[in-house]
Symmetry: C2
Subunit: 439 residues, 2 copies
């Protein structure tokens, strides 16, 4: 049987594992793909670091991806360039592509999909979201006969590790980040993780697949966890909640103000401690899916790491190889729904607002009055720390569901009041899965 030959772009943590598994599981992969799956070459920037790969190594990635004897290109470089140019060249040259590159897919996925279509080849990217957890294939294929209404999940292990550590020990954000860095869960420059960009890329990919529409990373409202304090986490606990960095993708039916639309957003939010996502701790990922017929589903596992990510890459590689051996193609981009993306200002959620105020009679009434004036209905308000001698008190307000824009306007006004020393925090409260889930 003519082997399927693979060009590997990048040989970091994930790439090394791909090489190892291709070697160790060669017989199994051949049996499953219908032909041997062989490495044709490995493109890296610094070949001297990978001497063990011998003749397979090249620093000419562009030459490798268009080489006659290459059938499939596996990309684990990450980032936009040179990955985009290389993959477009590969697809144009008729190579199928397997990629783990969430940033590229979220920014320019349709260009890749169109290039794959033009050449009649496959584009698979299971490893781009939630690592080893089979999530994209279920969304694209298993649920293709259903209407997905919401996808909400913990899709970034670094931030989940940090928030879990803060909750477990009462540590500050800075201390928890330091621990995450020391243990290898956070990179030296943690911005992509802690500012939510990584999760936002994944949210764009999930929303696109779930709702059959194009959602770009620029469409995703994104807030990270840098501002989350130990006090916020304690406040969440008081409410029977935990704080998780969530990627939330929702389809909203048409209403008086908008046609049917989708929203995709990433922010730290309070969720009930009894929700299945609340107990997902450490570097684990979990994604909750709701569909009209299927009901509530949850997928749980390791979202990152060399071996788990390589597992997802190789699953795709077997599918792509089998398609080349037997003919046929995997699912293509499905964006027929073309739904508008809902502006974050029109989003309706609940909020937990914490203010430092002057300790004086009537202040609580002034504050709650401002909420009322903006049409934001209050579920609970409480004042603590009165008479502590330093002249300030803490007011916490929890709202009913209110439009983001109204809440933002309220907070703006509050921040300017003489009686308000400062707005301590504004956190969303998400009542995911209101129907209640066993467990």
């Amino acid at each position: 049987m003519k082997p399927i030959r693979v060009a590997l772009l990048g040989c970091g943590t994930v790439g090394r594992e791909v090489v190892r598994l291709l070697h160790e599981q060669a017989d199994e992969l051949a049996a499953r793909a219908g032909a041997p799956v062989e490495l044709a070459g490995v493109a890296v920037r610094r070949p001297h670091k990978h001497a063990d790969l011998g003749d397979l190594l090249t620093s000419d990635a562009s030459g490798l991806v268009t080489r006659e004897d290459v059938d499939v290109v596996v990309e684990v470089i990450g980032g936009i360039e040179p990955a985009r140019t290389l993959l477009l060249e590969a697809l144009k040259a008729g190579k199928s592509v397997v990629t783990a590159n969430k940033a590229l897919l979220a920014e320019d996925g349709p260009a890749l999909a169109e290039a794959a279509d033009a050449s009649g080849v496959d584009l698979y990217f299971e490893a781009s979201v939630a690592g080893a957890i089979p999530l994209l294939r279920p969304l694209r294929e298993s649920l293709a006969g259903d209407r997905i209404t919401r996808v909400a999940g913990i899709v970034n292990g670094t931030t989940n590790f940090i928030l879990s550590a803060m909750a477990a020990s009462g540590a500050s954000y800075a201390d928890a980040l330091e621990e995450a860095t020391r243990l290898g869960y956070a990179e030296a420059d943690p911005s992509a993780d802690v500012d939510g960009y990584d999760a936002a890329s994944k949210a764009a990919i999930l929303a696109s697949l779930a709702f059959h529409t194009r959602v770009n990373s620029a469409d995703v409202h994104c807030e990270g966890i840098r501002a989350v304090t130990a006090g916020d986490i304690a406040a969440a606990a008081t409410m029977g909640c935990v704080i998780k960095l969530l990627a939330i993708c929702e389809r909203t039916p048409a209403d008086e103000s908008m046609p049917e639309s989708v929203s995709a957003r990433v922010y730290p939010a309070m969720i009930p401690a009894t929700h299945p996502l609340a107990s997902v701790d450490g570097a684990f990922n979990a994604v909750f899916v709701e569909a009209e017929a299927a009901g509530q589903l949850m997928f749980y596992g390791q979202g990152a790491g060399g071996a788990p990510t390589a597992s997802a890459v190789l699953g795709d590689l077997v599918a792509v190889a089998r398609n080349r051996v037997l003919g046929g193609r995997g699912p293509r981009e499905s964006a027929y729904a073309s739904l508008p993306v809902r502006p974050i200002g029109t989003l309706r959620t609940r909020y937990h607002v914490s203010l430092e105020v002057v300790d004086r009679a009537g202040v609580l009434s002034t504050i709650t009055g401002e909420f009322a004036r903006h049409g934001v209905s209050i579920a609970a308000a409480r004042q603590t720390g009165e008479g502590n001698g330093n002249g300030s008190a803490r007011i916490v307000v929890v709202t009913h569901k209110a439009p983001e824009a109204a809440l933002a306007a309220t907070v703006d006004v509050l921040a300017g009041l003489d009686v308000v020393h400062g707005v301590h925090s504004v956190l969303r409260v998400e009542d995911l899965g209101r129907k209640g889930v066993a467990g």
Copy 2:
């Protein structure tokens, strides 16, 4: 675009939902499949009960599945015959098949797979295990580049509802079964569920897919939950455990006694209350998968019911339709590994043995001596109820991992001892996922 025409066999709870969704989501399904997906006919035994389906109805199932204008046959009759004959006829006639029939697949899956191969058509069966939870596609495809070592899950909602109810309220098995029947979670004849046969069929399907080998329902060691008492559940709680009916499929490396082998088994077992499967309550299903590279994964959702099962059927139907529109085929049977099935007697697990004994000095020593004589190492033994005045006491022994055969021989001998009034219960203790899982 020429439509894909579907023959539906059976129109019960699931069939009605399939009809509804095909109708309500016609536009979406057409967009996703690449062509309209239409009902060509519905075969039922009693057409008068489905008058609303009008001309689509027929009682001639055999005629329908071979009809010229039919592309795909969806089977939701269940049971071995006439389903087997009808599906073999359909496959022989070049129709692709989507089925939810776990009993048939577990008994005769290879015959169906061979018929599909002979005609070059698809055989999909996501709905046969764990209803709406996308589980088979991940096992068959997403994890095709990995080595799965264990699949363990709660795959029968009826028994999970009963065991959850017993644990929550202290109810007896009989009372919990009655409640399940009253609420529609158990059928009038509950044997297929409570005796474990339904779960055993699913275990056979899961083991076949996970380990790329043929496992038949007759290969699955199967014990149901009829013998589980409120006392057992209380005893589990004392150990920090809960009792769940588990389907467990494991791959065991070669050792001195056997080559590499698989085991598939269904029985009620104690699992740690902290394990993610322990908190899966009511009629929900969840399946835990361990793979060498991917690590630990969990899938959770509704395992039964008309709409969830129909969601899985329609997901398969879209895949099969797309393959017919675009060319190509889904994954075929992958049974290249041909691994032997390990006899239950060679299985090694831990056990919780509860005995009613004569309240007399030295009895504990006699009992523990019998374990030792059979080479079964004891982790803990305790005696309660001494001096209760009725002359009897309770001894509970928890073993380390021991071969099933040695434990069974020990229990046989114990049951015959003069000092033993009776063997109250023998329950396995499964320490799934020893590596520890977040949450």
